[in-house]
Point group: D2
Chain length 347, copies 4
């Protein structure tokens, strides 16, 4: 009953298999190999973006920070939500990579509205020299509280950014989960809506560690490559990043894995609703936030469930606190059933 | 006949096997798993350094840059050779990670002498405020032209650094090849000789992509962890880095692989000497630099040998130019024999 | 009737006189001259801090950014208010100088409470590696809306910072105005209350361009000096910074200038209160925020008053908007009387 | 007999007078004042560059570092000589401001030849991703050993830079001394020869502390302004920088001061030649390098001469060492005569 995160589960056999297949004989280094070409081409087709520049890096933090550094100057600012992963969970990586561009937090939780964005930005033009200039908009889908922006919502936010000539970055650590939930194509969720650079995450959805950064406008591709190398994120044995991605892409494995994770989460939500448990957020992908007295959480954990409490494990037993449940592809039906049973017993 | 680099060959089955074994069920993220603990403990024993802080990162550039950033302040300088990988092949990663500390190039080729280092440094104390201050010494073993510092040479250089209270970083992308060649222990080649932070490379010697950074003094371990996270080099699914390292360490695989690579290089060298080919550097590990007319190189390449020419492939056919041959663990006896035959035919 | 800022008025003759006096013959460069020694000693006596390290830089932004860079690591964060000058008016200088440490905005306006600070900080200890670590607290006195922290309030905030071992920086661009208003000594407003590094501003209170940075603990003084040089803020002809500071310090000129500015502001406030004008903030030093219909502001400006409107000059004539009035030392009694008359006529 | 540097002498009365004149009444901040406009216009006329962007900063290090940061990306490199001020005397300021772009040292002393530059650069096009890319060429005139590049030499070096599309920065801390020596116009020494950004130094030639940065192509002017603000180098009371520059420019004071300094240096050189003293460098502006036994230097210093020894004051008395003599505008004929007499007595 592992619901702590989607980075704790194993890797599906198809991906290890792809790794093994790529491991034959000598291959040119630094991405000049055939597997890399194949994975790149596959992603260009998938995103309907034949001109896009496609790069693989091992972590989401690297993907986001490199993307932002390519889009933003150090005297500018990046707009994001107060809960954004780039703000809360990357230990200043965006500031490091951009050379010190601060984040401006658009009020809200894990998502923002066009109105809130516009208000945070103020006038779209050049600001006085004393102020950080408009740099980029950074969105996350699936967002940190499990919210999923619709395609229209993304488009509306991108339109506001465009008023100030700001490019848009999409943190897609859970891109697959959002895409499957929305039933849209990758192109619809990204460049068709106005996104300039998207991160297509593999790690949280089953890969060992690989994220694709896709620059729909390849004008700054060479700069991205140099920044990647300078950050130590250019793999010499690049084929092993590409092979993971190939395994992930082939036969739409990425969709299947995300679909399975989302389905388990749905099952969890439905079961919990039946039990009358308060669920924080009606829209969700593979993350669920539930409110229960701390003692119920604790008892359920004692029965083997692993997950995190927002307000911490320490505190009054009767306090109603939020538990975060994340389903990765490997969560079984038994785990879901077991969890529901545990909650039912303790309520 | 692939001698272009030691990053083009495949991964030995033991390492893929270790990956597969680590891929069972759920594991805590970010290095809190059992495989990580096992690999860390193994390295501490191997280096006879029970208190050392041990971290895994995916590339040598990341390993070097993070190590230097932990040792050096932005108003200091790092002493290295003009051919150092950190100078020539990391696209400014050291400057990026340290916040702008420049490299001071100690005259020489791929190695330096204590005298040259002392002369570059000048007086060991505080320098005037206008100048970059003494920061760290960075050594590389095996060095870029195939030279191997002996343990005594390392100790002599570390002693000069110590006069100025400078810590010492060892770039060990080819640590195993040097260690096997010297017939010394890892401890002798590092902390016993005065090295403060060593990179124990896995990638060039058979791993998919993993390097261990070993801080013999763990005082700045927490800072290293934060800098690693901030750089996007903390893997969430850390077990897959650790598993590679475990496979690499178990049954002294790392020594066997390096021994095999070195042996092939020896065989190449002996064969070439017999043929009267000029070899640039008498001491070597798994790299060889040979001098032949460009037309001979070209003809040998036409027979299937893959390697690089120092002065470039374009140029007068009769010009004697330097070819760099690198053996990784996977180079076969047949490849060596084939290469020698090709040279013999073309001489 | 110039109330736009305290950086538009002229320099009092005593300071130009001190410059002229310092301008005789040859003097050692970079601060090794006698005037620098005298100004440094004077400040040490004034702050009752004989061991303090004292440095002069030409701008407040340089003073703040260098102070923060000396206190904070790039993987930490600085706590300040949403209106802090370091956030709003320094174009990312703190992030530049610290190497990318972000600011965490403690909810409030231009001042914070200990409770709000504690809540923003969370637990005082080491945070998970994913998060920016506790770095420093940055306070401003006089704050941006004219508020003045009392000595007790400063002490209470410093105490919260101390719980997390965070040093405290005081932005004292208007140090003199606050100090005079509070009737306290410089020591009481700084190190006795728990401040580690204070900026004693000269520029806004009459100097051409000089701020003193005072490190009460001189342990990191040498680092400060190197950072200052590296930033291009070490004047070769340092005596001309020091001479300004000497002129500013001699015969307590700094107090007289601030007292005069504060008195003019008091007179403005009293006159406006008599006229029934809404004043935003009951506590003030030399800044006043008044609420009037935009058309009244506009009409008063047409009569020669120069100041800024918070919500901009464009907008509905009847909208009640906030005007910011700042008095520097050079504002005359006639200017105050003229302003009051202008408002009275237009009400 | 002060010959230690040209930053130790006093400021000529015309400049203090200009400061005093600018010190009347209120003036808009941050460069929107009339004095700034006048000084800017004057420089545009002087440089025959009506479209140039002109900025004033207080130090040469700031001027150089801001100029380079505007020209260079962090993954590029700047070519300069091993003795360049930006390398030896700015405590890593270029690396700080550019975000970590290293300097590549073109072999030579304080000057380079087109051939040496071309050899350091290698091929002019894009380099492999592992290497720092071509960024900018930085020249210094007067160079650090007193050498003066001719206009043709500058043009030849700029032409090499242009082959790789690299812009050219001119460190003109002693611009006036070079310009007067060459008998050329400022335009000839800069943009007509191919320089993109020039620093027109005031500080070493009599100002309190002001340097003009002139961007002949104003395309990146706004970026420069933001970088300047971000670095704390935008003066709020900007008029006091501009006033210094106005005083320096009016009636060609800058030429007169440099001419006087150069003339004193000529007199020194001629006198020393008559005495048979070895002079290192036949070409000079206001700097002279002389070779004498250390005991002669020491004895001359004991008679009141102040200057620096290249190899340090400590060492064998009979060792022939190099003394650096710098004349600023304020060096008197008596000081020159006194120095010659002292040398003569001690030889």
């Amino acid at each position: 009953m592992h619901f702590a995160s989607d980075n704790g589960g194993p890797c599906p056999p198809q991906i290890l298999q792809a790794l093994a297949e790529a491991n034959s004989g000598y291959a040119p280094a630094y991405g000049a190999d055939a597997v890399t070409q194949a994975a790149t081409d596959h992603l260009r087709r998938l995103f309907e973006a034949p001109q896009a520049a496609v790069y693989f890096v091992p972590t989401g933090t690297a993907a986001n920070a490199l993307a932002l550094a390519t889009l933003v100057q150090p005297f500018q600012t990046v707009y994001c939500t107060p809960m954004a992963h780039i703000r809360e969970d990357e230990c200043n990586a965006p500031e490091f990579y951009t050379g010190g561009a601060p984040l401006t937090l658009v009020p809200g939780s894990d998502r923002m509205t066009p109105e809130a964005l516009r208000q945070s930005m103020g006038a779209p033009g050049r600001r006085a020299v004393h102020h950080a200039q408009h740099g980029a908009l950074s969105l996350t889908n699936v967002a940190e509280m499990g919210n999923v922006y619709t395609v229209d919502e993304i488009a509306a936010l991108c339109a506001v950014a465009r008023e100030a000539d700001m490019p848009v970055h999409l943190d897609g650590a859970r891109f697959a989960n959002a895409c499957v939930r929305l039933g849209c194509t990758p192109a619809e969720m990204t460049w068709r809506a106005g996104v300039d650079v998207a991160v297509f995450g593999g790690t949280k959805n089953g890969c060992l560690g690989v994220e694709a950064v896709i620059l729909f406008d390849s004008e700054r591709a060479w700069e991205f490559e140099l920044r990647r190398k300078r950050a130590g994120h250019l793999f010499s044995k690049y084929r092993y990043l590409s092979a993971q991605m190939m395994g992930y892409l082939q036969d739409d494995l990425w969709r299947d894995l995300a679909g399975q994770a989302n389905a388990r989460c749905d099952a969890l939500a439905q079961g919990l609703e039946r039990l009358g448990v308060e669920i924080v957020n009606p829209t969700f992908a593979n993350m669920l936030f539930i409110r229960l007295p701390r003692r119920v959480h604790t008892a359920v954990m004692a029965r083997g469930a692993v997950y995190h409490l927002w307000e911490g494990a320490e505190g009054p037993a009767d306090e109603v606190v939020t538990g975060r449940l994340v389903c990765d592809w490997s969560v079984s039906e038994e785990a879901v059933a077991g969890f529901l049973q545990a909650v039912e017993s303790e309520l």
